[in-house]
């Protein structure tokens, strides 16, 4: 694998990881509000 291919693979991996993590952040932010509905 050339250095540039490694570059691309690594960057794609980073982008995918960041997207997944951002979704987790949003879910937990929403969860703090949803708790209120569950508690009622």
């Amino acid at each position: 694998m050339s250095e540039h291919q490694q570059d691309d693979e690594s960057r794609k991996g980073v982008n995918r990881t960041v997207k997944i993590l951002l979704v987790i952040v949003l879910v937990f932010f929403a969860l703090s509000f949803v708790q209120i509905l569950l508690m009622k």
Partner: protein, 538 residues
């Protein structure tokens, strides 16, 4: 599969920028940003420490001595916020920034520009928060937990909420960066189960941060809308429930406690094998114990709230879940002891702080176990017993680990050896005075002295005076640390070798001391025997 780390678009082929502004304000270099985090944390440690000195000075004798009660409440609140969000957490992020890329063989963090932003948000957040002390209405004084309705009376709520949002954004970005780096930028051959325990501890901590910081953001946003936009999330008059805030806050707050201790576990797991000259005992068990603690941290939050009147079933569940945490924690403590067992031990300053950590953190763990018992907690709740417990966990736990890490990696960072003599002077002063400071607080709590009060019954006078003397001397001892740091960075004549410590293993010791501005621009060849755990099958 991990891919080799790569060249980013920034100034890879050059040394550090010459201009001060370029180097420190515009930096995308993980080592420089790590240094910025560490310097920031040290500064905040002394600001938070000065608040603590004010608290201990007021409590030196019964009666109001030096300050009005509201100012005392501001000090307790600010001391906690500054130490937790400004000192302990940024110190661990700084250590992570410095060491994670070096330990996994990556040239930098995965998102270097975001790394810069994560750091530079922090000083502004803390200037904003600390500035509230000078506002006409004063700063926040309802405790760092900001329980409504008390916290809603503060005029500075909006400032503090904004500051907490900024810190949260910074933490989330930092956590995303660390996870992306560890999962994508490891050198070929650095399998997950060959990573140093410190890297594992940070990977798991980063997931905790990502899960709970948004919950804190949600909780404080609801406080804000309750105060300024007419909502009634926590207002019983409008159908809300103030206890609900406590549930959401502690859903954040308990994992937060582990955010402040798991990287410390990682640090101790690096230092003990080095100075025992043995691989860590039970590598896999150590990793799984960290993961197990992290999981359990999500299902124990209500043990902070036993006294609010939870249903009996809930109290029993949270009691047993909390006690369960002592199992993986015990695994870790026993494994550190087993690592030392039969090792060729030497007692340099990092090792001394690590051994003190193991003993004193365990004391904090045991008092934690005591208050996990619901009936007992009704006595301990909101007393100085709690204050003693969490300071054993956070000062002799998290802070001692940070200091141990600073001594351990300082030669790699600076290229110079610190003064072992003054390091030991610092250690012995710290370990003696920290116990004089916090141990009597157990007795005060058991005798019924409540937390967060500027005045107290004369029956508590003696132990408070002892505690205050310990506090002043512990605070003064930390000036020795600053002296050792300054001497090491600027004046030390003794150069560090690449490996620094005889028993040190791992990729970070294969680069020169001081670590060059850019490391691992080409992925290193990872040889198992070079790794601390690479050749261990347990």
């Amino acid at each position: 599969m991990s891919y080799a780390a790569t060249h980013d678009q920034h100034d890879d082929h050059h040394g550090a920028p010459k201009s001060f502004f370029q180097r420190w304000c515009m930096s995308t270099n993980h080592k420089d940003i790590g240094t910025l985090y560490l310097v920031f944390a040290l500064t905040m440690f002394f600001i938070g420490g000065s608040f603590a000195m004010g608290i201990r000075a007021e409590l030196f004798k019964p009666g109001l001595q030096l300050m009005q009660p509201y100012f005392f409440n501001e000090l307790t609140t600010m001391h906690a916020l500054v130490m937790i969000f400004g000192a302990i957490m940024p110190a661990f992020v700084g250590l992570g920034n410095w060491m994670i890329p070096l330990m996994v063989g990556a040239p930098d963090m995965a998102l270097p520009r975001m790394n810069n932003l994560s750091f530079w948000i922090l000083p502004f957040a803390f200037i904003l928060m600390l500035s509230t002390l000078f506002l006409p209405g004063g700063g926040p004084a309802g405790g760092w937990t900001m329980y409504p309705p008390l916290s809603l009376q503060s005029n500075s709520l909006a400032y503090v909420v904004f500051a907490i949002h900024l810190m949260g954004i910074s933490s989330i970005m930092g956590a995303i960066n660390i996870i992306a780096t560890i999962l994508n930028m490891r050198a070929p051959g650095m399998d997950l189960m060959k990573m140093p325990v410190f890297v594992w501890s940070w990977l798991i901590t980063a997931f905790l941060l990502i899960a709970v910081m948004p919950a804190l953001a949600g909780a404080v946003t609801m406080l804000l809308t309750d105060k300024y936009f007419g909502t009634n999330f926590f207002n019983p008059g409008g159908g809300g429930d103030p206890v609900l805030y406590q549930h959401i806050f502690w859903f954040f707050g308990h994992p937060e406690v582990y955010i402040m201790i798991l990287p410390a576990f990682g640090i101790i797991s690096e230092i003990v094998p080095t100075f025992a000259r043995k691989p860590i005992f039970g590598y896999k068990a150590m990793v799984f114990a960290i993961a197990c603690i992290a999981f359990l941290s999500f299902i124990v939050w209500a043990h902070h709230m036993f006294a609010v009147g939870l249903p009996l079933g809930a109290e029993i569940f949270f009691m047993y879940a909390t006690m369960l945490i002592s199992v993986p924690t015990g695994v870790k403590v026993f494994n550190w002891v087993a690592t030392m067992w039969g090792g060729s031990m030497t007692f340099e300053t990092p090792m001394l702080f690590s051994i003190a950590f193991i003993i004193l953190f365990t004391i904090g763990g045991f008092s934690g176990l005591m208050m996990a018992l619901v009936p007992a907690d009704f006595q301990y709740h909101d007393t100085y017993f709690i204050v003693a417990h969490f300071h054993y966990v956070l000062v002799t736990g998290a802070l001692f680990a940070i200091i141990a890490a600073a001594y351990y990696w300082m030669p790699k960072w600076t290229g110079n050896m610190y003064s072992e003599f003054w390091g030991k002077v610092h250690f012995w002063n710290s370990v003696v005075w920290v116990n004089v400071l916090f141990f009597p607080q157990h007795f005060l709590g058991l005798a019924g002295m409540p937390r967060r009060i500027p005045d107290y019954n004369v029956a508590f006078a003696n132990f408070n005076m002892v505690s205050s003397i310990g506090g002043f001397l512990f605070g003064a001892s930390q000036l020795i640390f600053v002296g050792v740091l300054i001497h090491c960075v600027f004046f030390s004549k003794k150069k560090a070798t690449d490996r620094v410590w005889e028993g040190a293993k791992g990729l970070e010791w294969t680069v020169p001391s001081p670590a060059p501005y850019h490391t691992f621009e080409l992925p290193p060849v990872v040889r198992d025997e070079e790794l601390a755990h690479g050749h261990v099958n347990d």
